[in-house]
Amino acid sequence: MANEIKVDPQMLAEFIKLNKNIFEAPNLAKSLDEINLEITPHEVVYTEGKVRLLHFNPPVQKQLKTPLVIAYALINRFHILDIHPKKSWIKHLLNQGIDVYLIDWGTPTQINRHEGFDDYVNGYMDNCIDFVRKETLSNAVSLQGYCTGGTLSTVYSALYPKKIKNLTLTAPVIDGRRDSTVVSNLAKHMDVDKLVDTLGNMPPELMYYVFSILKPFEQGFEKYLNFFKNIHDQEYVENFIRVEKWVSDTPPIPGELYRQWIKDVYQENLLIDNKMYVGGKQVSLKNISMPLLTQVAVGDHLVSPECSMPIHYAVSSEDKTLKIYPTGHVGMIASSFSQKKVLPEYAQWLVERSEK
């Protein structure tokens, strides 16, 4: 036959195997609802509105007197810092003898739509940090801000420098003008006033849209193909489902907080120019004089390194370190690379600058 199509038998076998894996998948993987993302035991030690302050139970004796408070991002939830026992940022720090607290922003509803930077920084954050200072009898704490939590932590440290012993920022959103990501491109062209005035809070659906246009073919096609190919690898599957559950769950962002974040950081670039006001006070980055560690990832397609790095040059700290890693936004905090390279360097930096 002249029109006969020749197919490699190995290719056919691969295709059949993939189909078999797809059919077997429900028996080999848990559904998102069956997964509990809370791994490391913790206690809720302080609550205010929907915000919770978590204190993680140390598996080893506390080595450092200075506690660490983590201000998580406003997008998705804190579980990525504790996503898998072998990839947990929090567990690693606890094993180094660091006393870890974390601010969980909760799920804002329409009643929270008028909350802005003032409420978050001068209210929730300040109250959580005061609580930790009082409970641990420490004058100052170490503060870590991840992603948008990095923006909040930067503002906080500029307004309350005496309460912060060490500031560590992981992929912080600082200089929107230099941000070269798709997220920043959309943020710069958004009528944020109309959005907040009409909808109240920034809805999760719109956040999902923004995530869906970040590497849509790799993330929307290849990632799932690899999942089915590796369906018999239990560890791979569990990690995949855990991360997918984390990705699919993002809370709304309070309207006024979102308005100021987009305007002051992405559209008018007031934070890096020292012209941002929070609760009537000017935020001057020169007030940040405590030791500073900034961590950025070259493959970060959510917050580009150019957006984060200017903080290193804007502060007045004499002891400051900038670390650039060959990974991505999530890879920096929840990956094997993070455990082998990022975390040991982070913990060492913190230990050297904390009270024993």
Binding site: E14, G49, H114, V182, H189, D191, K194, I213, F217, F221
Partner: protein, 192 residues
């Protein structure tokens, strides 16, 4: 890209005519309506004009929304076609073994990822997307106004009224927190 002037003019005429007749019919039937609609339901009859106005204005915004949505899909389709052409140039023949299949999949993903990231990074895409969301929000505003009219007619709190309550609660919470801080420090409202 916006609504053509001719279409704008005809929409304005349509709006004027509709509102004129809504008004006139309302005035003409006022007596009969008063007789027919009694008690709380009369409020709904009075508010009926708001619903017509909102519907007409929403149709105007739908035109803008459709224009932006068409442009959005055009941008996606054009980019897909360009990426597909590039892929066909690079991989002219169907892969017929595992190795070629893997390689061509990688090429396909890389090409499409590059073309689409370039699109999403462009000012044209971001501007149109911003306008698309904006026009959708205009439609949402009309929808909110209509819902508020219905809620008001049923003597239920409207979105605006609820928002006023939220605003008041927010301000009260701040005042209480401030007073708590002063009380804990044993000071006065002046900070002394």
């Amino acid at each position: 890209m916006s609504i053509p002037p001719d279409l704008k003019k005809s929409l304005a005429n349509y709006k004027h005519n509709s509102l004129f007749w809504t008004d006139l019919l309302y005035l003409m039937s006022n007596r009969q309506q008063s007789l027919a609609a009694t008690g709380p339901f009369r409020k709904f009859a009075i508010n009926a004009k708001t619903l017509s106005t909102e519907t007409i204005e929403m149709n105007e915004d739908m035109t803008e929304f459709n224009t932006r949505l068409s442009e959005y899909y055009k941008q996606l389709t054009d980019t897909w076609n360009e990426a597909q052409k590039e892929y066909s140039r690079k991989v002219p023949e169907l892969p017929n073994d595992v190795e070629h299949m893997e390689a061509s999949k990688r090429i396909w993903i890389d090409i499409f990822e590059n073309y689409f990231t370039r699109l999403f990074d462009s000012a044209e895409f971001a501007e149109n997307f911003g306008q698309l969301v904006s026009s959708e929000l205009e439609i949402a505003k009309h929808w909110n106004n209509m819902a508020s009219t219905l809620l008001e007619s049923a003597n239920m709190p409207t979105k605006k009224e609820m928002d006023d309550v939220y605003k008041e609660l927010h301000s009260l919470r701040k005042r209480v927190a401030k007073l708590e801080k002063i009380a804990n420090k044993g000071g006065t409202p002046n900070g002394q």
